[in-house]
Symmetry: C2
Subunit: 943 residues, 2 copies
């Protein structure tokens, strides 16, 4: 017979054992914790029994002016009696007391916001019973004082510090350091002190009556629903205030009541590698704290664990308590089957009876994450969809790069933390100049390039460095973007570094290090370490490959890569890239002696530009001039054209010299991508990026080009820009210097012809960057197309090629319908589009964007995750308007976002054809695309 009202009005619910009432479906009444306990009980998991007072009671309590329903007292009494029966103990029994914990449990988790009281039921009498059972007076009095302390604090609002100070005084008086050095008597003495304090603070005696204690605890939990912390938390998280919390009253069980007791933690599978073996540790006759505190060495749960941990001197739980172990193993299987996930479990054996204290989804390494998801599916426990959904795409990165050995990390603490900008770890001798880095690398040294920030001039140094470390710039700074492209570890924007180029030193955490000393970086976490550290290698397992193949079956979005070299292209292809979405051509301009040709070309460029302006101006003036002025203007025009003819050869010679080099680059990439499309972006950065800023280097360039330092300096000054991001770059340069794009186009198509002759299936796509005005693209497209046709005519070949553009300016998104008239494909350059839409330079924003995220002004870094409400709106507009003009328009993105899972999902939801990302992110994109396709079936409107 139970005392509760049946049905909707049931106020109290039992859990633990066969009489369990309720389950996961009653979370609105039982709260998260209570329904979970009921759920576990209902599948036969032995949880310490107890009962849940429903949220309905909480609501009634507040509704009725903090009065409980009349019948509640009687109901609680009955439930206590039922628990006493189940446990064979009595609440407040002087011989073997039943103790309770009282915990909150709201329908939506509010971690740490509300109150808890443990060890409820102890008093001067029952504590003796606890001593008797545990044979450990120190434990008993420590438990007792904890109860008094918690009760005073939680139920009566006494400042917790008051009690802590008394303990500190006690230790000082005894001249001991740690709580563990206090004896049973010391704790007993403190219990008295605490009670005295309680009396002074509240004007009441500490309650000895367990029932009174229980009601104090229950009321405190209900009251904590409306404490300041909890109210504020609900406000921040937009949760309703009128739901209320449930209260869970649960039997306390102890693993330190004798030799037939134990406590431990376990995983249903190995969290390190995902192998389907129970793992874990235990301690006989101990409390949970002992396992984690390190005071005693925990023992292996079973032989698998013993072998793995090398703790061969210990007996396992499997050997010591075979029946308990078997029961535990059964529970593990039951839990895993029920929750369809690997579980992390806390258990206690009290007097030969097993209790599961907690079960939750177990944390695991990335390889374990992949293997477990795969295996659970293969075992038929979850579907392939679910397996794919289970893998956190962003964590795949970890599997694809070497990592610092976890043990080495424990011994060597990071001296600074920057932004983990490109995953993987690397050790090397620090070098502050790219030239020097290259020299040292040639001598076989491992180097770490350390700079304020890198620029295209540093490509050589970055290429041979083990990793890159910068003091400025964010996740999409040059260093970060290039490093990710190269698959090299990079820590960016580590402001704690004080880099002195002149002195060749790096100061960090108060120490100064000379160039040549060893540093280690973790590009995943952003940590910087002094010295060389042990690494673990990356490894792609069969399960990973299989999971990826499942992903490919589900996903609808194409996945390409951003790759500038044949090596990158091959690597990306191994990772499953279905083509190249972005080949940047500017890096190629820095290789070997090419940069000299580039600079020779630039030397003449400003004159060429100026003359062309004059030419166009005169052409315009002639068109509208009065007839008597025409002659004069035509003479001027002729003069300008003559000057232009004189200036162009130097410029053209340089471009002619670059042509075969570029052609070679493209041939390599086309071969690596046989059968797949390759999108090549024509030159994008402003010309001044190819000029040296430092005088020594400027002198060298002057000597090389046979000109004066003064001319080089003038050139640098002439081309300098206040805001290079918004400067003379991309297609604007293509308009001013059409010969550059012509050379590149010719190189692309000649390369295509050459490899096609060797039987390679080549699919070139030429991409024109930074278009903001439809006419820009119209002009350039025509030029490019003409050259393509010309090369094919000369070679007597047909090759399918496409010409398209990047959409990376707000104006391009707005005018996408007009732009699509001249483009066969769009590729959203989300880096630049984010910069212009926000009006934020990624290189300058690190600090305030960081602050914005801490302050909650922006939920995420928009340079990492696509900003849906702003940039995303423009992308949607671009896609819609572009396809209005050209239904078959191919649309992708090639910004850094192409490898970020939630951004990939956004692309899927908005009908893009593909994403393109750096090679190491290709698997992430494949998985995220599959998850999006699976997700989208459930909710098409979420993105």
């Amino acid at each position: 017979m139970t005392g509760e009202t049946v049905g909707n009005n049931q106020l109290v619910f039992l859990f633990g054992g066969e009489e369990t009432e309720g389950g996961a479906d009653l979370a609105h009444l039982l709260g998260g914790k209570g329904s979970n306990l009921a759920e576990m009980s209902s599948i036969g998991v032995p949880v310490p029994p107890g009962f849940t007072i429903s949220t309905e009671v909480c609501r009634e309590y507040y509704k009725n002016n903090r009065q409980y329903p009349e019948e509640l007292d009687g109901i609680v009494k009955e439930y206590i009696a039922r628990i006493e029966k189940l446990m064979g103990k009595k609440f407040g029994d002087p011989d073997d007391p039943l103790l309770f914990s009282v915990r909150s449990g709201a329908p939506v988790s509010m971690p740490g916001m509300m109150d808890t009281v443990l060890n409820l039921g102890l008093n001067d009498v029952s504590v003796k019973g606890l001593i008797k059972q545990s044979d450990d007076p120190r434990f008993a009095y420590d438990s007792y004082r904890r109860f008094v302390q918690m009760y005073g604090n939680v139920v009566k609002g006494i400042d917790g510090d008051v009690f802590e100070e008394m303990i500190a005084e006690k230790k000082a008086a005894l001249d001991v350091q740690d709580d563990t050095e206090l004896t049973a008597d010391d704790w007993k003495d403190l219990v008295d002190q605490f009670k005295k304090c309680y009396r002074e603070e509240t004007g009441e005696e500490f309650p000895d009556d367990p029932a009174e204690q229980l009601w104090g605890g229950i009321t405190a939990v209900f009251e904590s629903w409306n404490n300041d912390r909890a109210v504020k938390w609900r406000e921040i998280n937009n949760l309703p205030h009128d739901v209320g919390t449930a209260v869970n009253v649960q039997t306390m069980v102890f693993g330190n009541m004798g030799e037939n007791c134990a406590t431990g933690v376990a995983f249903t599978r190995d969290p390190a590698n995902g192998v389907k073996k129970h793992t874990g540790e235990y301690l006989p006759n101990a409390q949970g704290e002992d396992v984690v505190s390190g005071a005693r060495t925990p023992r292996p749960l079973n032989s698998y664990e013993r072998e793995k941990s090398g703790k061969t001197e210990f007996a396992t739980l499997e050997e010591e308590m075979p029946e308990i172990y078997q029961e535990l193993a059964d529970v593990f299987d039951r839990l895993e089957t029920h929750y369809q996930e690997m579980q992390d479990i806390e258990f206690t054996v009290q007097s030969g009876v097993l209790y599961i204290l907690q079960t939750r989804t177990g944390k695991r390494t990335a390889p374990a994450m992949v293997k477990i998801a795969h295996d659970l599916s293969e075992e038929g426990i979850i579907s392939r969809e679910k397996a794919l959904d289970r893998v956190e795409a962003s964590r795949l990165d970890q599997m694809l790069h070497p990592m610092i050995d976890p043990e080495a990390k424990q011994e060597n603490k990071a001296v600074a933390v920057g932004l983990g900008a490109s995953p993987g770890a690397a050790s090397g001798k620090i070098v502050l100049e790219s030239d020097e880095a290259e020299k040292l690398a040639e001598q076989g040294e491992k180097v770490l390039l350390v700079r304020h920030e890198t620029s295209p001039e540093d490509i050589g140094g970055m290429n041979i460095a083990e990793g890159i470390l910068t003091s400025r710039g964010g996740g999409t700074s040059h260093a970060a973007v290039v490093a990710r492209g190269m698959g090299k570890p990079c820590v960016a924007g580590c402001g704690a570094l004080n880099i002195d180029y002149a002195a060749k030193t790096v100061e960090v955490a108060g120490e100064t290090y000379e160039a040549g000393e060893w540093f280690t970086i973790d590009g995943g976490t952003g940590e910087v370490f002094i010295g060389k550290m042990e690494m673990t290698e990356a490894e792609l397992t069969g399960e990973f490959e299989e999971l990826m193949s499942w992903a490919d079956q589900y996903r609808e979005l194409g996945v390409r890569t951003n790759a500038d070299t044949p090596d990158d292209a091959r690597l990306a292809r191994e990772f499953g890239a279905e083509g190249i979405g972005l080949t940047r051509t500017e890096h190629m301009f820095f290789e070997d002696n090419r940069i000299d040709y580039v600079r020779q070309m630039i030397l003449a460029a400003p004159d060429v530009q100026e003359l062309r302006i004059q030419e166009e101006k005169l052409v315009n003036e002639i068109e509208t001039a009065q007839s008597n002025k025409v002659e004069e203007l035509e003479a001027a025009l002729e003069k300008v054209r003559k000057q232009l003819e004189e200036t162009l050869p130097e410029y053209r010679t340089a471009l002619d010299a670059l042509l075969p080099e570029q052609r070679k680059d493209f041939e390599g990439i086309f071969r690596a991508m046989d059968g797949l499309p390759v999108t090549v972006r024509l030159l994008d950065p402003p010309l001044h990026e190819f000029l040296p800023q430092e005088e020594a280097e400027q002198q060298r360039v002057a000597d090389n080009l046979g000109t004066s330092l003064k001319r080089i300096k003038q050139l640098v000054a002439n081309l300098e820009e206040f805001n290079p991001m918004l400067g003379h770059r991309g297609c604007r340069m293509g308009i001013s210097y059409p010969e550059v794009y012509e050379m590149q186009t010719r190189a692309i198509m000649e390369a295509a012809v050459n490899v096609a002759q060797d039987g390679v299936d080549v699919q070139p796509e030429i991409m024109i960057p930074l278009v903001g005005v439809p006419r820009e693209l119209e002009i350039l497209r025509e030029n490019v197309d003409e050259i393509c046709q010309e090369v094919l005519r000369e070679a007597e070949r047909t090759i399918d090629y496409k010409i398209g553009t990047m959409i990376e300016l707000p104006r391009a998104a707005v005018l996408a319908a007009e732009i699509a008239q001249h483009a066969e494909f769009f590729s959203f350059g989300t880096n630049d589009l984010t910069q212009t839409t926000f009006g934020i330079s990624r290189d300058d924003a690190t600090k305030f964007l960081e602050y914005y995220q801490y302050e909650g002004i922006l939920p995420e870094d928009p340079f990492a995750v696509i900003d849906r409400s702003g940039v995303g709106e423009l992308i949607k507009m671009g896609v819609t308007r572009g396809r209005q003009t050209r239904k078959a328009l191919k649309v992708g993105i090639c910004g850094e976002h192409g490898g970020e899972p939630s951004s990939v999902k956004f692309c899927h939801a908005n009908g893009l054809d593909y994403v393109s990302c750096s090679p190491y992110r290709v698997p992430i994109a494949r998985l995220a695309a599959a998850q999006a396709a699976i997700d989208v079936k459930e909710d098409l409107t979420a993105y």
Copy 2:
């Protein structure tokens, strides 16, 4: 009896005299020129008679394989007979030949695209008649050779250069320079040579028969409809190819046929000042060429002209030919009444008969434009709407500034031309440094500040300079924007200047000038002159004021000003500004000793920022930390807060010192704007703009602030940005350094309270710049509002104030609905919005934007004229979405576009409440707004 088919099928139309057929309504048949001639005839203007062969004939000609309608030949014959009768002359008469011109005339003007033949009807016989009539054999043979030349070229396609070379050879043989030195015999000889050439080139004799000549001419004109030039021109201008041209056959009249002949040009009103007096010049017994060529000195038309020109030695036409003059005056009145505009007329008197050769709308100065529009309306000839519509708003600028005396300009040619960035003219000694400029100005010198580009540091120098001249930057560069704000002349981006700061010289056009030499600039045309030049002063006439008052009656758009000082505010108010739409506060930071306080504040700013980041980071970590970590984190937090407390005083002291200064600024502005709203923008530029870049100045600052040069250098390096336009500025700074905005808000509200106590009606509007994230505005709005309330509470006053934001980022336009939740007004910052929408930095784009305009890639500079299809779309989006949230949202613009007429019209059409522009542009905006309101009645969809 006439031979033409009547009605729709009439092929030929007569004009001149009472028999005139057709008029302006038949332009589709008669073409522009033909219908105009008919129109003039029909209102009694004596044009030389002739006939028009309709466009229908042209269409038939092409349709029927280049065959004319059969009846055409007969019709033309009849029309020639009618003209002969009207003129009392015969076509080809050996005694007194009637000569014709044959000209094209399409329905839409195609200037210079098609062909013309003059003097048609001359041959070896009739040329004698011309000699007899004119008594001028040289004229007769010159006319004859011109005819042969034109006919050969136009009708037979002989290269014009062939004839020109023969003339050149003739001159060389005679050793003379000018055509005027050739005699009648020389020309006669050339006629023979030309005819010989004609024979050689065509294999035919030159036609002597006038009728054959005429048909040759007519056919040539019809053929020219499809010449390459004309076809291309129609393609460029999107005109149809199937309309065809008409052909006008008109009597040639000559003013050199004796003493009862004359020729002249005249205006119906004075084009210099608009006074209602006929003006003009004539020459007796002369050709039109003689009047304009300067070979003979033209005489004054009437006594008004004589007095004005000072040519007292000449008799006027009024005196010499009083009847003709009277007839002319009547025609003038008739024309002006008919065309409702001041006319520019060419006339010829042939043998005592007046002929009007051409009439067109007369060009005029800006003051004349205003006066004429005003007077025509007052005289009842045009409505006020039309008067307003007639005034070119953009030309008003000229009236409001001193200009270089036109005569002075004729004597002194410009050495270079830059961009006319701020109108008006100025002379001064060139100075390259702002400090020096200030020193010289204190000594009473007039200076012209010459810089590569100005920065906020130059405000002092700009303020005292007569004008500003820069070698870099465009129409919205710092120099241009500030100069316009100050109403000072500015020529920007004059690349021809080679400024050497070190040598203190300016090189231009091959000469080097030392600082201290006089230059003169014209900020309207962009011209740069060496030396000091005479100026004419600006003058605002009564007509101007009245016209402006009409404008105010029509316009619906408010007009405010951008003003940073009480002087500017007062000036703008005089020009009719209805409030301030933008007060920039940053310039105030440079005045006097304030900059030292600002720098003191900045000195501490990076530390404050860094500590705040750490603080927020720890706060966040604590919220989600495991309980055992909380203590450690809280200790760290406490430490950070302590450091912050130590750092803030220096920072706050500086701000406290700035407060009273800022308050004073605002008091002045509020008083000047009594009764009108004043929008103050909180600090916008990044902090580094307030730091000196040069070492000497850095040392001075270090000494002033009692710190080391090293620290200043570090600070400069720390705050440096790659793309300051997209950097840590605007509200981002307000978030990082809330104290700055707090100080400014307090200054604004305290100033408001102070002036209100003196009875001033103060209407402050506080504007938060560069918002891209709604939450930015939400936070700052709350802070600002709190301080406003606090100040009002302290003062026990109520003052209505508004808090709003600028919409100057694409993201702000997209998220306008959310932003409007926190804004009472929007002000579009179209400068920055244009920069971010296009991804173009105005400071770096001068060259390629110039090229873009010449190339036709962009129709206009988007920094001068709002880009409707891109930026305009975003503005529309911003207005619509903003008002969706807040119906009463006040919306204006405060970018440079606020004073550009077509942009003002755009603002009107899109429902903005006001535009704001620099003081001198206020009248332009008022007028443009009125024109928009008038326009819009006709076509609501045009914008």
